[in-house]
């Protein structure tokens, strides 16, 4: 264990693991007392990352340090098995032991570590009370609702007072109604947890609500990381942009004019940008017109409607240009414009509504 390793609390991992054609290759740091969300599409390597941190799979190469202790290092032939890692895991489908009562499930970790049964039981009961499910103690997992099972799984992981907590899609198994409630609760429990929390999810809402830090994982690599708000405001890849609902255009900037890769001209405010840039436009900031608009907007493009999708309060219109855009308009506007697939329209937006920044080195 090196001095720097000892100084660093939380999770500090540098992992390269090859599974067939897939390569997971990332550095990740999760600070104690903070929630780090790993957000990525299916097949991006989220579960492999989680399993590797938990010790269910060894790293191919690299090393994992948890609260200053080296738990996995391929080069140094160090591998601490999961049962000695002190990392709590809440699995996507909870994996509560079906033959045990809720109380026994929560006490399991303690009894496994040699705590006396009565002590473990008392501790389990305390955790159940803390999570507001003391009355479920005698139930079997099969008799629990999804939300209840989620709380039991949390209690079971927290009862061991782990150094770090890994949550694998903690809300994915729940129905939409329960999800909102459990997400709010989860936020409270995680705020009380002093160790590092790593939350793996494909739902940006989980990341935005629960996490302090967001790491975007795509095809085994980190493509963006930062605060949740920062990542939402400045998506670096198509995946993040689509996730956040924003339009993302790549291009080259020169003196306030960006020429996108598909050939559109976009005026931006920042005249100092030079070279490869990313342009972000929120769908709400774009308007559609039947005739070429006159006036202040300097960005005007002839477009053709490809697709329509009505939401509760708005119509999402996919248009192809260049540039190809997602546009949000009111239902009234949609009626006025007679938008239908194939209609030729004009799209416009003010330069002020466009965010442009130098293309990040990572990903892209």
């Amino acid at each position: 264990m090196t001095a720097t390793a000892r100084a660093r609390m939380g999770i500090d991992a540098s992992i390269t693991t090859r599974i067939g054609d897939f390569v997971l290759d990332l550095d990740i740091v999760a600070a104690p007392g903070r929630v780090t969300a790993v957000l990525g599409p299916n097949g991006s390597g989220k579960t492999t990352l989680l399993n590797t941190l938990a010790g269910l799979e060894p790293v191919g190469s690299g090393r994992i340090i948890v609260n200053g202790a080296l738990v996995d290092d391929a080069a140094a032939a160090v591998f601490v098995p999961p049962e000695r890692r002190r990392i709590g895991v809440v699995f996507q489908d909870f994996l509560l032991f079906p033959s045990m009562s809720v109380a026994d499930n929560v006490a399991f970790g303690l009894t496994s570590r040699g705590v006396r049964a009565t002590t473990a039981r008392r501790s389990a009961q305390a955790w159940l009370s803390r999570l507001g499910i003391a009355d479920l103690a005698a139930r079997r997992p099969a008799e629990l609702s999804g939300g209840q099972a989620q709380r039991v799984a949390m209690a079971r992981a927290l009862a061991l007072e782990p150094d770090a907590l890994l949550l694998d899609e903690p809300l994915a198994a729940l129905d939409v109604g329960t999800r909102i409630e459990v997400r709010r609760e989860l936020r409270e429990y995680l705020a009380d947890f002093t160790g590092a929390t790593l939350l793996v999810t494909h739902d940006p809402l989980d990341a935005l609500v629960l996490a302090d830090e967001v790491v975007i994982l795509e095809e085994g690599r980190v493509t963006q990381q930062g605060s949740a708000a920062g990542v939402a405001a400045r998506p670096a890849t198509d995946y993040v942009a689509a996730l956040m609902g924003a339009n993302l255009l790549r291009g080259t900037a020169s003196e306030g004019l960006v020429t996108t890769d598909d050939g559109a001209c976009v005026h931006v405010v920042d005249r100092t940008l030079l070279g490869p840039v990313v342009v972000v436009m929120r769908p709400e900031a774009i308007s559609l017109h039947v005739d070429r608009p006159e006036g202040s907007p300097r960005n005007v493009w002839p477009v053709r409607v490809v697709d329509l999708e009505s939401r509760i309060d708005r119509m999402m219109v996919r248009v192809e240009g260049p540039p190809d855009l997602s546009v949000a308009i009111t239902l009234a506007a949609a009626a006025d414009l007679h938008v239908a697939p194939g209609s030729a329209l004009w799209a416009s937006t003010k330069a002020l509504d466009i965010d442009a920044y130098s293309r990040p080195l990572m990903g892209g």
Binding site: A54, E83, I87, G88, V89, L95, F97, P98, G109, S112
Partner: protein
């Protein structure tokens, strides 16, 4: 069976059953039922207790019970680790191990007995060393009965349990590991409860097979009253001498089989199909 009748019932009376199915099918039922009926019909019910409590019967019963339970214990003690290895370790997952485990199921028991003799007999593969070095002679002893029974019965346990282990969700074991449980704790507290029905079924099937063992026992252990003459051997021996006693002992074995059938249900078949 129940599902067949209900689904058939639902289809209604409109469709007549073809005779070429109904006739041979019914014939099969009669063929299977008749021997049981014969056994039960001719059983000396009035003298049952006297016959079974005769010293010779009690001796065979006691010997059978002791050897079959011991053989089952051996089969479980060795078979459970083997089942685990076959389910989870590539070295034990090959066709060879599988064939070897299944072999006693299809091998004529007499051949099994001959094979045991050639392995553990005084001049056998291992037997010669046992005899020369330790002075141990296995054939025609009670120990040989246990060995013959275990050899023939172990596959029933291994196959049933291996199938169950293979189909358990191993992520529960992973979850247990993240909760600080070592491998043995995990197996005992998480895996065992999940495969409990198959463990029970496998043990019961194994015991039943051990209890009924005849061919391998006769060949490897002989038929010496009080030493190696188990129930099935006693039935066979009594058939010429005292028919009533043979039938009485047969009824005992039949009763055990019925109980086992109910207890084990479909677990073994599921194991075989995997």
């Amino acid at each position: 069976m129940t599902t067949t009748t209900t689904s058939h019932g639902r289809r209604g009376r409109a469709r007549a059953l073809p005779w070429y199915v109904l006739v041979p099918g019914s014939l099969a039922v009669v063929f299977l039922a008749l021997p049981v009926a014969g056994l039960l019909g001719q059983a000396p019910w009035g003298r049952m207790w006297t016959l079974l409590s005769a010293p010779a019967s009690l001796e065979a019963l006691r010997l059978s019970l002791a050897t079959s339970l011991l053989a089952t214990a051996v089969a479980v003690a060795l078979g459970l680790p083997l089942a685990w290895l076959m389910a989870h370790h590539h070295l034990f997952n090959g066709a060879w191990v599988r064939a070897l485990v299944t072999l006693p199921l299809v091998l004529p028991p007499v051949v099994g007995g001959v094979a045991l003799l050639l392995a553990f007999g005084r001049r056998g593969l291992v037997g010669q060393f046992l005899y020369d070095l330790l002075g141990v002679q296995l054939p025609f002893t009670t120990a040989a009965v246990v060995m013959a029974e275990a050899f023939v019965a172990m596959p029933f346990f291994v196959i049933t349990v291996e199938g169950a282990l293979r189909s358990t969700d191993r992520r529960y074991e992973q979850a247990a590991a993240t909760l600080g449980a070592g491998r043995w704790t995990t197996f005992r507290r998480v895996t065992m409860p999940m495969i409990a029905p198959s463990l029970v079924a496998g043990t019961v099937l194994c015991w039943a097979r051990a209890l009924g063992e005849f061919g391998a026992t006769l060949t490897f252990a002989g038929s010496f009253p009080g030493v190696t003459q188990t129930l099935p051997l006693a039935v066979y021996a009594a058939l010429d001498v005292d028919r009533a006693q043979a039938i009485a002992l047969s009824v005992v074995l039949l009763a055990v089989s019925v109980v086992v059938l109910v207890a084990a249900r479909g677990q073994f078949v599921r194991g075989l199909l995997r």
